[in-house]
Symmetry: C4
Subunit: 387 residues, 4 copies
C-alpha cells in the first residue's frame, strides 16, 4: 500500500469522494422501503444530515427548521450570533462587502468578544421553539464557555477544530482542553472532531465522544490544503475512521457514529460518504443556499476571521430554494442539490440497501473523475462558446 515517492520517503494513495462511484449489485429496492434513520447522542433523526456550525448556515431559526424537517443544525457559539445582540445588520454587512475588503471586515467583526449571556439566550430560543439545541465550541472556547453551556440546557455539544487530538502540546501559559474530562463533566453528549485517522478516532471515542467528525481539508469554504499543505482525501479518511468505530463496537458493544464533514455538495456526495462508512454527514454550503439561511446567499469558513492566518473565502453560493426543498423536496433543480432525502432513498433503492448499515456495505468502484463543470468551461471557451 505504501508507494515510494523518492528515496526513503513512502506515501499512501488516498482517495477522494470524486474518485469513487457506487455500483449496483444483484438486488434493488423500492425507495419507500429505504430506512435512512440514525441516532446521534441518543437523539433519533430521520435524515442523516447535520448543518455545519457556520455563521452563514445556522442561526436559531434554521436550527428549529432543521429539527422539524428531521435533520439537525449546529449553532456556532463563537460567531456572529453570540457576539452581537442583533446579528442581522452584521450579516447584512458581510453579504454587502466587496471581495477585496472581506478579510479585513471579518477580522474587525470577529474581534468583538463572545458574550456568555448570548450563548444562553440563543440556546433558550431554540429550545423554546421546540428545536434540538445542538451547539458548537472550539477547544479554546470549550475551556472558556464550557460551564455556561453545561448550564444552558443544550442537547448536544460539538467541540470542533481543524484538527483535534488527545495529545495536544500547549505552551505553559495556556491550559489546554482535556477532552476526556470535558466529555465526562458536560451533562449532555459531546461530539468531537475533526480527525482523519483510525488511531485518533479510537482515542476520541475512548475519551467519551458521542460522535466523531471526520474530514480535514476538503471543504468548499476551506483552504487547509493550499495554505497548510494539510489534507486527507475524504473517502479514505471516512473508511479509516469508520473502521475504528466498528472495532470499538465489536469490542465494547458501544456504537459511536462517524460523521463525514467537508466538501460534500450533492446528494451523490452524501450517498458515497455513507457507502465509505459514515453514519451521517455534516454539510455547510448546500444548506447556505436555502432561502432561510442566515448567510443571505453567502458562505464562509470558520477560520476566515483569524487575525493572523485567515483561511477560507466568502463564496457566493446563491439562494436556490427553501430548506424543505433542499432536504426533502420536491426538487426544483435537477443537479443533485435539492431533495437530499429523496436522493439518499433512491440511491439506496438502486443499490438494494434497506438501511444505512447496509448502505455502508455497498460496492464501491474507483472511477475516472466526472467531467467537471470547470473542465468544460475551459474547453468551451477554447471552442469559442460564450457564456
Amino acid at each position: 500500500m505504501d508507494i515510494s515517492i523518492g528515496r526513503g520517503k513512502t506515501a499512501r494513495r488516498a482517495y477522494g469522494i470524486d474518485e469513487i462511484a457506487l455500483a449496483p449489485g444483484a438486488r434493488t429496492l423500492d425507495p419507500t422501503l429505504a430506512d435512512t434513520s440514525w441516532t446521534i447522542g441518543g437523539i433519533d433523526r430521520e435524515i442523516p444530515i447535520i448543518a455545519s456550525a457556520m455563521d452563514g448556515v445556522v442561526d436559531v431559526r434554521m436550527a428549529v427548521l432543521l429539527s422539524e424537517l428531521g435533520a439537525l443544525g449546529v449553532l456556532n457559539l463563537e460567531g456572529i450570533q453570540t457576539r452581537y445582540d442583533d446579528p442581522n445588520p452584521i450579516l447584512d454587512r458581510i453579504a454587502g462587502v466587496s471581495k477585496t475588503e472581506f478579510v479585513t471586515l471579518m477580522q474587525e467583526l470577529y474581534a468583538k468578544p463572545v458574550q456568555p449571556e448570548l450563548i444562553e439566550r440563543r440556546i433558550a430560543e431554540i429550545k423554546s421553539q421546540g428545536g434540538i439545541a445542538a451547539v458548537s465550541l472550539t477547544p479554546a472556547g470549550a475551556v472558556k464557555y464550557g460551564s455556561t453551556v453545561a448550564a444552558s440546557g443544550a442537547d448536544l455539544v460539538f467541540v470542533q477544530a481543524t484538527v483535534v487530538s488527545t495529545a495536544h502540546l500547549s505552551p505553559e501559559s495556556v491550559s489546554p482542553l482535556d477532552l476526556a474530562g470535558f466529555c465526562q463533566e458536560m451533562p449532555m453528549p459531546v461530539a468531537l472532531g475533526n480527525c482523519v485517522t483510525y488511531d485518533v478516532t479510537l482515542q476520541l471515542i475512548k475519551a467519551g465522544a458521542a460522535a466523531v467528525l471526520v474530514g480535514i481539508g476538503p471543504g468548499a469554504a476551506c483552504t487547509s490544503r493550499g495554505v497548510l499543505g494539510v489534507g486527507v482525501p475524504q473517502a479514505t479518511a471516512v473508511a479509516d475512521c469508520a473502521a475504528a468505530r466498528d472495532d470499538f463496537f465489536n469490542e465494547t458493544g458501544k456504537y459511536v457514529p462517524v460523521i463525514a464533514d467537508g466538501g460534500l455538495i450533492t446528494g451523490g456526495d452524501i450517498c458515497k460518504s455513507i457507502a465509505c462508512g459514515a453514519d451521517g454527514v455534516m454539510i455547510g454550503s448546500p444548506i447556505a443556499r436555502a432561502a432561510e439561511a442566515p448567510g443571505r446567499g453567502y458562505h464562509w469558513g470558520m477560520a476566515t476571521p483569524s487575525p493572523v492566518l485567515p483561511r477560507g473565502t466568502r463564496i457566493n453560493v446563491g439562494t436556490t430554494g427553501t430548506i424543505e426543498q433542499i432536504l426533502r423536496g420536491p426538487a426544483g433543480l435537477d443537479d443533485g442539490t435539492h431533495n437530499f432525502l429523496g436522493a439518499v432513498q433512491t440511491s439506496m433503492g438502486t443499490l438494494g440497501a434497506k438501511n444505512l448499515k447496509e448502505m455502508q456495505q455497498v460496492e464501491v468502484t474507483i472511477a475516472p473523475s466526472l467531467l467537471t463543470e470547470g473542465k468544460v468551461y475551459q474547453k468551451a471557451q477554447q471552442l469559442g462558446m460564450g457564456k
Copy 2:
C-alpha cells in the same frame, strides 16, 4: 484487482470509454469489407445502433426513418407520444420554455396520464409505414400496459429502468413486475435493462431477455452519478456483461446481444464500446441532433419529469444535419458525430476486423483521457453556455 481505499474498504478500478483507445494490429482491411450487421430479437440490422426511447429522439416518423436506414429506433410508450393526441404543440412548449421553468413544465406535462389507445395508435402508425415497431416501457409501465402492447403487433419491447434486477423488493401495496413471467407472456422478444454486472446480465438472460442493455450513470442527459453517487464506468460494465453473454452462449448455444447504453457521443465511442464487447449501442443525444428528431434541437432524460427527484436536464444539442447524414453520411462535420456507419467501417478497416465479432476482440489500450470537442459541447450546453 481490489484496491484498498481505507481500512476494511476495498474497491475495484473501473474504466470509462474515454480512458481507452483501440490499437491497430498486424492486419488492415478495406472498409468496404467490414461487415457491421447484427441481429436483435430475430431482426437483422445493418447498423449496430439503436436510438434511445426518449421523447426528444424518437417519434413515429423517426422510428420509420431509422428502420429504413438500417438502424432501429425505440418509441417511449410512457412519454409525450402516448399522453397527447397531438404531441407537436407539447414539444414546441418544451423547446420554448426557459431553463429555470423547465423542470416545473416537465412535471406538469408528464402528469397527464398515458392513454392506452395512443399506445396502439403509435405502433400501428409505425407498422403502416413499413417501420420496425420497437417500443419501450418502464417496469411499472409493463405491469400496466403489457397486455395492450402484447396485442399491438409491436416487433420488439424494451423494458428499461435506471437499474433493473430480478430481485426487486417492493412495498406490499405494489405488485412488482415479474421479469421472467413478462418475457414468457409477451408474444414478441423483450429486451431488458439497464444493468452493469456479470451476475445481473446472466439473470436477465435466464429470465428470457432477447437483449440486455448495459450502462448506469454515464449518459450525457443523465446525472445519476452526481445525484445518487451511482455509476459504473462503461468500458468495465460492457466487458463484464459481455462476459456473461459469452459464458451463457458457450453453455447453451443461445446468443443474447449486449447493448451499450449511455454517454456515447462520437463514432469513436461506438467503436470502443463494441471493442469492449458490445453487440450494438443505444444512443440518444447524437440522434436528437437530426433535423427530423422530435426534440427540435433539444434533448432530455427519462427521469427528468419525476415529480420528487428530477434528474437529467434539457440540453440544447442543436440540429446539425439529417438523420441520414448522421447515420450513413456523407459527413458535413468532421468531429465524429456524422456518418457513424462510415466511422465504424473505417475503424474496423484500420483494426483489421471483418465483422463485429472480430471487432469485439481488437486490442484495447488504457490511454490518457481525451476531452473531445463533442463531449464539451454537450456538457457546455447542459451548463447553459450558448454557442
Copy 3:
C-alpha cells in the same frame, strides 16, 4: 503489464508524450558539443526534423528552404500542389473560408484529380533549386503514380496512410499496394508508415522500408481517436517501434530509422520523442506557423477532404516567425516553438547526451501532466479573470 478492465478483457497502459519528462543524470555537456545529425535513406541531415506532407506545411519553396536549413520537408503529391497548376488562389480560398463552410470547400477542391505532369514539375522545381526532393504518396496513390515518381528523380518517397500493414485485405476489384514490391521497384529509398507496434515495424523494415513512421492518433490536426476510437499514446508507440529497429539492427547490422509523427508541438516534445527511441520527428503544425508556409497561418489534416468521412479540422495556427527562427533561432518566442535545434542541443547538454543515440538512452520519468493552458483558462474564467 496487462490490466483487467472487465471480465475477460485486459488492456495495456500506454503513455503519451505529455505524461513523461526527462531526468538529468550525473553528466552535463556544453550544448555546442551536442551532435544532432542523423541519416535517412542515405541522406545526412543536421536537424532530426521532417516537415509533414501536408498542404499547409510544405510546398516547393518550403522544401528548398528546409533542405538549406539542415532539415527536410516532404511534398504531398496528392494535394493542392499536384491538382492545381497555380495553387496560390486555392490556398487563399482555404485560408479565407468560414469555419462552417470549410469541410464542404475542402471536399470540392480535392475532387479535382491529381495531374501526373504536376508531380513531375514540382519535383523538378525542388531539384532545380538545390533542394532535397522528398515526396509523399498514399498507398492508393503509390499504385497510380508510382511509375511517375520513379521516373521523376525524387530523392526519397514516403508512402503514408493513417495505418499501414503488410497484410491489407482489399476487395477483389481493387489491386492493393504490395509494399515490399514497391520498395524494391522504386529507384529511391521508400519510407513507410504509419504504424505503432513492434511487429508491424519489423514487417515494414523487412519489406524494405528506408524509415518507419510511428504515430496513430495524437496529431493536432488529427481526430482519429475521436472519430474512430483508434490511437496509441506516442511515448509507448515510439518505444515499441524503436525496439523493433534495434532488434533488426542487432540481427542484420542494418539500421532503419524510426520517425515519431504526430502531436509534437514544442522542442520539449521533440526531445522526449527522441528519448523514447525516435531517430527523428515529423511535425506539421509547428512548421505551418512559419511565414513561408503555404497555409497562410492555417493548418489542416490529410483526411480532411475525404468526401465520406472527413476528419481533422482547419486550425488557425497563426504565423509566428520565419522558418529559420523556428528551426535554428534566434528565438523570438520563449514558449518552446522557436529554435528547435537550439532546444534539442540544450536539452542534450542538460542531459549529458553527446549524440542522438545517447539521447535515446536518457532517463525518462512518468510525471504529472503539465498544467495545461486549457485547465488554466477554465479555472481563470471561474475566478472571474477576463481575457
Copy 4:
C-alpha cells in the same frame, strides 16, 4: 518501481508537490511551540525561506529587508543590478514593455556587460545596511567574477544553473568551472545547484557545497519542461536529494542543507517541500508580489534573456502587500500567499512537528491533484489573461 512505457523502455513514476498532501497524526501542537529556525552556511535564520536570485525579486533594499525579517534574499550578480549603475529606469522599461516586445527588449538590456565594480558596490550596500550579503553567479560567471566576489565580503555565494554536475563536458576553448576548487578557494560558503538526483547531490556535497539547491523544471517562470522536455517532479526530487544529505550526515556528521527551488507558490507548497525532506525553500514569484520588490509587480526567469534560446516569460504577478505581510503577516489575503511563517507554524502545529527535522518526518499521502487559485492566477497571467 520501474514501469514499462514500451518495449525496452522503463520509467520511474515521479511525484509533484501538487500530488501530495500532509496527513495529521496522533499529536497536535500549539503553533507558538513550532520552531522553524535553520542554519545555512553557518548563518542562523528564523524562517526557512530564501528569495530567488532574480532581477524582479531581489535588489539591495530587498536583501536588507529579508535579512531583517528573519529570511534571506540572494542578489543576482549577473543581472540588471550589476550591468547598470542605476537599475531603476531599466526596471521601469521592463515593467512597461508590451508582451510581444518583451523578449527582444530583454535580449537588448542583458547584452550590456556586467561591471565588476558594481558587484563590489552592491555587496557593500547590503553590508552597510546590516543585511546578509547572499549573492548568486552562474558557473560561467563564477569563472569570470569569482575573484571579485571573493574579495567583496559577501557572506554566502550561490552558484546556480538550470542543471549543474561535477562532470560537465566543455569545448576545448572554454575552461569550465571546477566546482570543488571554487568551493575551496572562496573565503565564504558556497551553495550549489540545481540538481534533482541522489548521486549529484552527494557529489556536490563532497565538492564542498554549503547547501544544495534542488529543482529542475517546476518553476512558475520556468519553462524547461516545455522547451527542453526536461524536468523532475519536485516531491520526488526533494526526497531523493534529502536522502543523500542524510546518508552523508550519517557517515561524516556534517549536515548540508537541501533547498527546494522552483514552483512553490503557497504556504502549503512550502510545508509540503519540507515534509518531503527540504531544510528550506527558495521562492521567486511569491516574493515578487511584495510592494518593495524591484520587479514592480512583474517577474521573469533567469534564462529569459538568452539570445539564442529564451525561456521563461514575464509574468504580471501584481503587488499584494508588503514583504512583511508576505513573510510574517498579518495576512490580508486568505489564499495562502500571505504570512508564510504563520502558515508553516500552523501546519507544524496541526501535524505535531516541533521543529523542521520533525516536519521532515510527517506522513505524506498521495492525493488527487488540487488546482489552487494561486497557481491558476500565475499561469493565467503567463497566458496574458488580465484581471
